[in-house]
Symmetry: C2
Subunit: 127 residues, 2 copies
DNA sequence: TCTACCGTATTATGTGGGTTAATACAGTTG
DNA sequence: CAACTGTATTAACCCACATAATACGGTAGA
C-alpha cells in the first residue's frame, strides 16, 4: 500500500503519517472509509505495530482520521469551511513562505509557481 | 544575531542553517559579505563550535556560502539565471505541492496563496 | 617572527528519540 | 468463545545530536 524508505532519516512514523495524509487529501481514501488496522499495516510494511500506532495517533490529533476502539480507524470527514484560525494554517503558510523565498532565490519564474497551485486546485474540483 | 530554540526537536545546526539561509535569501546579508566565524558564532549562541561548523558545511554544500581556510566564511553570490536542473529545485517543488495540497484541504482560498507569492516576489524587486 | 585568528579534523562521551519487542487490557463482532 | 480491533506499558538497542578537548595548516597584522 505505502512505500517507506528505511534509509531516510525521517522517522518511519512520520513517513507513514505524511503518505496517509496525502491519500486522504488527494481523495484516494474517502471519508469514513476504513483504513488498515494497526497490526495489519505493521505487518505489510514490516515495521513494529507501535510505529503504526504513533502515526495513527498523530493523524487523529491533526484531524485526518478517527479511531474507534475495537472497531478500527477511519478517514475523517473533510473540512467544510475555511477555518482561518486552524492551528495547522499558520504553520503551513510559514513553510510556504520559506519555500517560495528559496525558489525565488533560485530564479524560479513566478508563473511556474502559479501553475503548480492551479494544477492542484483544479484536480480537487474533479473529485 | 540569530535566535535559537533549545527546546525545539529540530537540531540546532539545522536551525542555524535555516536562519542563515533566510538572511541570505532576503538580502540582509550581501554577497561576499563576511559572516561570523565558527568560534565567534558558537560563543554568541552558547553552542559548541562543532555545531556551527556542521551548519556552515551544509550551507556551503547547498551553495549559500563559501569558506576560505584561515580567512573566514562569506555569503555566496546569488544565482544569476534559472537553473531548471538544480538539485534543490525538485525538492522544493515537491514540498510546495504537499503544502498547497494541505492548504487546499483546509479550504484555504487559492487567491490567498497567490497573494503570498506576490508579496515575496515583490519584496525581491526592491532589493 | 610572533601572535592571534581563521577553517577544518579527530576522538571520546553523554543524552534523547526512534524503533523493536513482548505483553496486557478493554471492547466489538460473528 | 474466538478473533479481531485500538490502546497502554515496559525494557532494550541503536544512532544522531551535542558537547568537550585537542590538534593541524594557513592567513593577517603588530
Amino acid at each position: 500500500m505505502l512505500q517507506l524508505d528505511f534509509r531516510d532519516r525521517q522517522p518511519l512514523h512520520e513517513q507513514i503519517k505524511e503518505k496517509m495524509k496525502m491519500l486522504i487529501i488527494r481523495g484516494v481514501l474517502q471519508p469514513d472509509e476504513q483504513i488498515p488496522s494497526v497490526r495489519e499495516l505493521a505487518q505489510s510494511l514490516t515495521v513494529n505495530p507501535n510505529t503504526i500506532q504513533k502515526a495513527y495517533k498523530n493523524l487523529e490529533t491533526e484531524g485526518f482520521i478517527y479511531s474507534v476502539r475495537a472497531k478500527g480507524s477511519f478517514v475523517a470527514p473533510h473540512p467544510q469551511k475555511h477555518a482561518g484560525h486552524h492551528p495547522r494554517r499558520k504553520v503551513l503558510l510559514a513553510e510556504l513562505e520559506k519555500i517560495v523565498a528559496e525558489l525565488m532565490y533560485l530564479r524560479e519564474p513566478k508563473e511556474q509557481l502559479f501553475n503548480v497551485i492551479h494544477a492542484i486546485y483544479a484536480k480537487k474540483e474533479v473529485e
